[in-house]
């Protein structure tokens, strides 16, 4: 227990340093945050104009899609903020700085997570919050405590899922020494296409996103509950089931660490 609390303290210390150093370049920080906001804002413009033309997609209205989009964006951006260390991990391997990490008497995951904390992505989170509030107040459902809980579980499950995907991306670079572009499909791609409920992409896609990489568990199914399409209380807890994905990705990471041979630089 002693170790646990001190790990948390260490992580907080990491954060403090990173945020302090980011604040040295305030103008640049706000510009980048604004840039992040704009990037996802352009996606919203696309969605907005599609719904100017069409009243629904597979039975989902504009406000319902906004709700879906905002929760997905929040899950992704929060994971991106705190797990960005995994994203830049390939360069850590290439430059040989991971050797240093291994020498320290602390968990590697903690140190990698603590190496980066990209607060500029707050621009995206901010947009997600605005969209969420708009969607929440405009959909025709009654908000209950169970539904708020569902949203919270979606965030927990989603952040966990995206973190595991970032971790897989990092773990693969133990073997390839470079980042693999196609992994973007599972992170950026999922955020991009997760703006519409996964049911929109056909049955096959829904099966894949349920059983292979459980995006639908943190998006489609709980959304059905939020929108009163189903009253089954199991749907409230489904997002937490997506956390099973942490197990194989952590195993892959451990395997990578054991196999690790320094790149020699």
């Amino acid at each position: 227990m002693e170790k646990k609390t001190s790990s948390l303290k260490l992580y907080m210390h990491y954060l403090q340093i990173i945020i302090k150093s980011a604040m040295q370049y305030k103008a640049s920080f706000f510009m980048m945050a604004f840039g992040q906001f704009m990037v996802s804002f352009s996606v919203l413009i696309g969605v907005y104009y599609m719904f100017q033309r069409f009243s629904n997609v597979k039975g989902f209205t504009y406000n319902e899609v906004l709700l879906c989009f905002s929760i997905m964006l929040m899950e992704f951006s929060l994971a991106e903020i705190w797990a960005r260390g995994f994203d830049t991990f390939p360069s850590m391997i290439r430059q040989g700085t991971f050797d240093r990490v291994l020498l320290r008497p602390r968990s590697e995951v903690l140190q990698v997570l603590g190496s980066k904390f990209e607060l500029v992505r707050i621009g995206k989170v901010l947009q997600a919050i605005v969209m969420f509030v708009y969607g929440m107040t405009h959909v025709e459902v009654r908000w209950t405590a169970a539904k708020i809980l569902t949203v919270l579980f979606m965030l927990v499950g989603g952040v966990g899922l995206f973190t595991s995907l970032f971790m897989i991306y990092a773990a693969l670079s133990f073997f390839t020494l470079e980042g693999l572009e196609f992994m973007n499909l599972f992170t950026d791609g999922a955020r991009e296409y997760g703006k519409y409920p996964f049911g929109v992409y056909g049955k096959r896609m829904l099966q894949i996103t349920t059983f292979v990489i459980p995006y639908a568990l943190v998006q489609y199914y709980p959304l059905l509950y939020l929108l009163d399409r189903t009253g089954n209380p199991i749907y409230i807890f489904l997002p937490l089931a997506a956390l099973w994905f942490l197990i194989p990705s952590y195993a892959l990471w451990r395997f990578g660490v054991q196999k690790y041979q320094s790149s020699g630089s």
Binding site: S28, M31, V43, R53, V57, K58, F182, Y196, Y201, M205
Partner: protein, 267 residues
């Protein structure tokens, strides 16, 4: 002129080296293309009468866009150029007996061509064999195909000129990061990469057609499927030529100014 052609060739050959990356890129783009088309089908089902193009034209549009992503991708900048503006190596560039505007222009075109060259053919070949409404259809006519090619070349040159505006502007601002991000999000909306321009409401579309970003992929991709034809097509192609000339004249003037007042950073 010969020096620029050799710069161009040099970049082209370097770009062609990244074969594994290209393979990964192909797989990724297939998937993105597929998802994109599924969305359009879902919207079509909701209300076919509100759908502004034929389904086939949209899927051709999506596949051309995916195959030629490197031609019009907003984020495709030469990081090196921003680097040398920031770290002061610009001084060496200015010493060379070449015009930096022309040199960077040649590099931008070469980068896009080399990236697209490796990726486009496999994507296009497979997309042709996908079922109707999901794959890449045949061009509307042989004439349309020729006009598509002509417009595609113009579109690539316009895109490179737009890149040049950002490089040249960084000569003044030194750090190009903010500009770059802003540019990316603007391009994606105004050029019809997020959704094709016909999907915008009529009054918005009428204005958007005139913006310089619409003179990129939007024109050739729609000529290909016959969505853009007749007088409107000629108008769009002339607009491409207009923007190409205007952007280059402007870019050159600004570059000359920027060179003169360039502050070389560091030592």
């Amino acid at each position: 002129m010969r020096k620029y052609i050799s710069f161009f060739r040099l970049r082209l050959v370097t770009g062609l080296q990244y074969r594994t990356a290209a393979l990964a890129g192909i797989v990724t783009q297939f998937f993105w293309g597929f998802m994109e088309i599924m969305v359009f089908h879902a919207f079509y089902e909701a209300d076919p009468s509100a759908y502004p193009m034929t389904l086939q034209a949209t899927s051709s549009y999506v596949w051309l866009q995916q195959a030629l992503l490197a031609f019009f991708g907003a984020w495709m900048f030469e990081g090196e150029i921003f680097e040398l503006i920031k770290n002061g190596n610009l001084a060496y560039e200015l010493c060379r007996p070449v015009h930096i505007y022309d040199m960077w222009f040649a590099r931008s075109v070469a980068l896009r061509l080399s990236r697209a060259f490796l990726r486009c053919i496999p994507i296009l070949v497979v997309a042709v064999f996908l079922p109707e409404g999901y794959g890449l259809g045949l061009p509307a006519s042989f004439g349309a195909f020729l006009r598509f090619l002509l417009s595609l070349v113009l579109a690539l040159l316009v895109m490179a000129s737009l890149n040049m505006m950002v490089y040249v502007a960084s000569l003044f601002t030194i750090s190009g990061d903010g500009l770059r991000i802003l540019f990316c999000s603007i391009v994606e909306v105004l050029s019809g990469q997020i959704i094709p321009l016909p999907f915008f409401p009529e009054h918005v579309q009428r204005i958007l057609e005139w913006n310089p970003f619409a003179s990129t992929g939007n024109v050739p991709f729609r000529i290909y499927s016959g969505n853009l034809s007749g007088a409107k097509m000629y108008q769009a192609v002339f607009l491409q030529i207009f923007w190409l000339i205007l952007l280059n004249v402007l870019g050159r003037i600004l570059a000359a100014r920027g060179e003169k007042r360039a502050v070389v950073q560091g030592g």
